[in-house]
Symmetry: C2
Subunit: 556 residues, 2 copies
């Protein structure tokens, strides 16, 4: 059975889900033994440990000029010691160009079969990837499993489905038959999908697979060879994915350089050299705005970015202020605020928040936020696992700096002990009150567990500021709490104009940070937080060109 | 009956046609009395004549600061004397911004109904537009009717259909229902289409409606207000279209500034001022590469361009060299080579062209081209009408300059008398032989009736040069003649890699210059001749942003 036939039903369901946007998940998100096998977790952990302080030999790329690797675990603050093969940029490009002419001729069905098969192989390694993710990103175990495993695989499948559907949009060939009165003009016409060319996918340190696989699989399904350039600090999780793609390519007698891994180090980065290479036609990037904007401005490239944003919470009126504070406390604590969807700016009216039981004052609500954060992070059964560890030392500095912002510090950041890793680098959320007039203080992303409580004149003022931040500085998410239908409509409209999705009135076990493959667009592409969206049609159609040829029908 | 209901069947058929890409035309291309009415032509001509030397009072835009107009007929070489209302750039932008918030809230069905209705109104004025087109562009009557009338309307409808379909792609709202084991998380989700904002559509002098209406209608259907900035030399045809759009808007109690006309003069152009305005988010442009590339590089804009290209003909082997020469002679003479799809570089092997009756030498084929051009342009019943007139005096200079190219001049350009317009500015095609080694001579667009016969080593060399020109200098069309299936495959593949559509073996009454709405993509967007395509999915999806909001389903 062909790989396409093997996976056709899944692909069909995925395309259907893309349109319906109701709940769909191909890869179960719970790391349950009943789903993934009794030994899967232990074996995954074993495999991860076995990979430490060794060469990563799984890639099929030949002729490494050196072996490099600088990953360090935020939990142990020790080097992982995994070494990856390194290659000159010219070698990577030459191989990718050669692979282009092989991969572009593989038809869409075959490509889809191969790519979904690679996800099935990755699925068998979700636990190993989870441990690799923990020890490169600092994510807690559960997030590391879900984000780097099933959720990433779902996002990859989503990109495959979106791309596959677009490749089918126009017919391969038709008869064009134009009546001219006494005769017809008949042309045979044919349409070709021409992939743009070598694709560079640049990973980030915090979500090494989740943020990488959409661009990777979107480029591959549309026929482009990909060079994956992971963040030097988070290589192993995506290296496993690339290795599995190469395995399936090799089994199908295809050039494994259709998907290459390009590892570098902080000291000797190759990203610009790759990005500026004239043969690189597509670039996907997740990371800081400065570098993202530099990439977007490169001439002659199709660039897809997810950059930084200033995510807002607008608090107008609530049913239960404690539940709201509880939900938000979790949102800012989850992975220590190191999610691109984590909220930062909380806009709270100086007159307080309306509730069915009267107004909750700004100060009362601030205290509820603080109390809920403390109760979460101080709970030894929850806190350390929700917080995880801090990926980058600079984030710790930023958290400390936040205490010097001009305003009342409601809660200082501190470390919490992780029962499993005594050297874990941790920082609980810092909460600072900032006046709305002090716009400089909150007009930029302060990446990490940093919460700004911004005292506004009223909800209109809150909306205006949230919109302004999103339009000028980007926003990937927005939370809003209101029991007033007209206020809800206004927030929905004003934030839509700022291309920012709003989660209304979330309480309980669902958070504004989370978004679901096949349903929630991740980043909209319509504000400075990024020009691309997982996975809207634009994300795939820009990766290839439709070219039509025609010829008169031979006369009989 | 709503306008949507009135036009729903047409819209549905148009969407269907977009996918099938078989023959479809909503607007009959023949100016037959049986179709358009016995008096339509005469009345159209009368209306055109009545508009000369008057103010164009049809626009509903209020408060003109002056009345301007510098159009000149290439047939009479006299000023048309039509004056249009002029407005400060700030007024245009302010009005467009205000109109944005009205138009974006009109739903897709209503927008589609209004826009198709406007095409129906334009249809009633096809003849008037045809005469306006003749006397601004220099097109012959038949082309002026077809290109500015039915073919343009088809391209407009195509853009409406493509946009409308994309607006329907995702549901307005759904229930997202995620099983969590003991309970479900239920969210109501809603998706909003957020139009990008003020759209600027910059017209060209040679196809004032055909090249303008795709961007105009694509922006409008996706909810963006449009400012149409025509070429100062070709205003009247598109002014009529804008006036009819404003009529339908007014009848539906909508702000007529949803579609504004912004006229300027050669001396005081407002294009850059408009394009660089921070509130302009979308720009469509047809014209020269220098300005197009400047627009593409403007930060913070979504830009759609059709620029210049170097179109090639590859002659390898033919069934009938005379028929081929006849077809190509017509292609270079049609509207005096002033079509962006007209061929320029003819690659002919030094060893000649294979035919069933032996080889036709380079020289013999060159002579056939010359003979066929002469016999066409010297035919008083065909020549003047096929050639039309030269829009821009600079084209005449360029044609003369071509005689100084380093190579044998096979045919000099000359004027032909137009029986209806004694002052018509005409130039027949110039044909110059250039050696393939003299790449500088043929590595750029020489706009106008200029044919270069390039002597190559062999067909591989021809293909290589045609591909190289397309990749580095752009190409919108390519003609190829071969009776060898393997050569055909090679040309199809190599030119597809250069994102250039190929017309194979055209003889008789169909020409490589022509392309059909709903079937042929005009420009592919994949080479330097432009970054956009009439009308592929990318052309519409980039004009709006999908934004999704969500909220828990109320409990109980």
């Amino acid at each position: 059975m062909s790989l396409f036939k093997k996976h056709e039903a899944l692909l069909t369901n995925a395309i259907d889900a893309l349109h319906k946007r109701t709940f769909f998940a191909a890869y179960p998100e719970h790391p349950a033994p009943a789903i993934y096998g009794e030994k899967a977790d232990a074996e995954g952990q074993e495999k991860f440990k076995a990979s430490l302080n060794t060469k990563f030999q799984e890639l099929k790329q030949e002729g490494a000029t050196s072996w490099i690797g600088v990953e360090e675990s935020p939990y142990t603050q020790e080097q992982l010691g995994v070494k990856y093969p390194a290659f000159p940029v010219d070698t990577l490009i030459t191989r990718a160009k050669s692979a282009y002419h092989i991969w572009r001729k593989v038809n869409a069905q075959e490509r889809a079969g191969i790519l979904i098969e690679s996800l099935e192989r990755v699925k068998a390694r979700f636990f190993e990837i989870a441990y690799a993710t923990m020890h490169t990103t600092g994510q807690g175990y559960m997030m590391a499993f879900q984000a780097s495993g099933p959720h990433a695989a779902d996002r990859a499948l989503e990109a495959i489905a979106a791309g596959y559907e677009e490749l089918q949009r126009f017919p391969t060939s038709i008869l064009w038959d134009k009546p001219m009165g006494k005769f017809n003009i008949q042309l045979n016409k044919e349409w070709h999908v021409v992939p743009k060319g070598v694709s560079l996918v640049i990973g980030c340190s915090t979500f090494p697979t989740w943020n990488t696989v959409p661009g990777l699989y979107a480029s591959l399904i549309t026929g482009n060879p990909v060079i994956v350039k992971p963040h030097p600090g988070s290589v192993l999780p995506i290296a496993i994915v690339v290795a599995e793609i190469q395995n399936v390519l090799a089994e199908n007698n295809l050039d494994i350089n259709i998907c290459q891994l390009a590892v570098d180090t902080f000291e000797s980065t190759i990203t610009k050299q790759l990005a500026e290479h004239p043969d690189v036609k597509l670039i996907d990037f997740t990371g800081n705005s400065l570098f993202g904007s530099y990439l977007e401005a490169l001439p002659g490239k199709m660039v897809f970015t997810e950059k930084t944003g200033v995510n807002s919470v607008i608090v107008d009126s609530v049913v239960d202020a404690d539940k709201v504070a509880g939900n938000l406390a979790f949102s800012v604590s989850l992975y220590s605020g190191q999610m691109c969807t984590a909220p930062q700016n909380f806009y709270i009216p100086e007159g307080g928040i309306k509730t069915p039981n009267g107004v909750v004052s700004f100060e009362e609500f601030a205290q509820k936020i603080v109390d809920n954060i403390n109760s979460l992070v101080d709970n030894p059964k929850a806190g350390p696992f929700v917080l995880g560890a801090i990926q980058n030392k600079n984030t710790c500095i930023r958290v400390l700096d936040a205490e010097n912002l001009p305003g009342k510090v409601w809660l200082k950041s501190r470390s919490v002990a992780n029962p499993m890793f005594k050297n874990a680098r941790t920082n609980t959320p810092v909460v600072v009150e900032v006046n709305a007039s002090n716009k400089d203080a909150f007009s930029k992303e302060l990446f990490g567990p940093i919460v700004l409580l911004i005292k506004t004149k009223n909800t209109d003022h809150s909306i205006q500021l949230a919109q302004e931040m999103a339009i000028h500085h980007g926003a990937i998410s927005c939370g809003a709490y209101t029991t007033d239908a007209s206020v809800r409509d206004r927030i929905a409209d004003e934030m839509a104009l700022a291309a920012t999705p709003v989660s209304f009135n979330l309480v309980g076990g669902i958070y504004m940070n989370q978004n679901a493959g096949f349903s929630d667009f991740h980043v909209t592409g319509g504000n400075p937080s990024g020009n691309a969206s997982f996975t809207n049609p634009e994300y795939v159609v820009k990766r290839f060109t439709w070219v039509g040829h025609r010829e008169p029908v031979p006369v009989g």
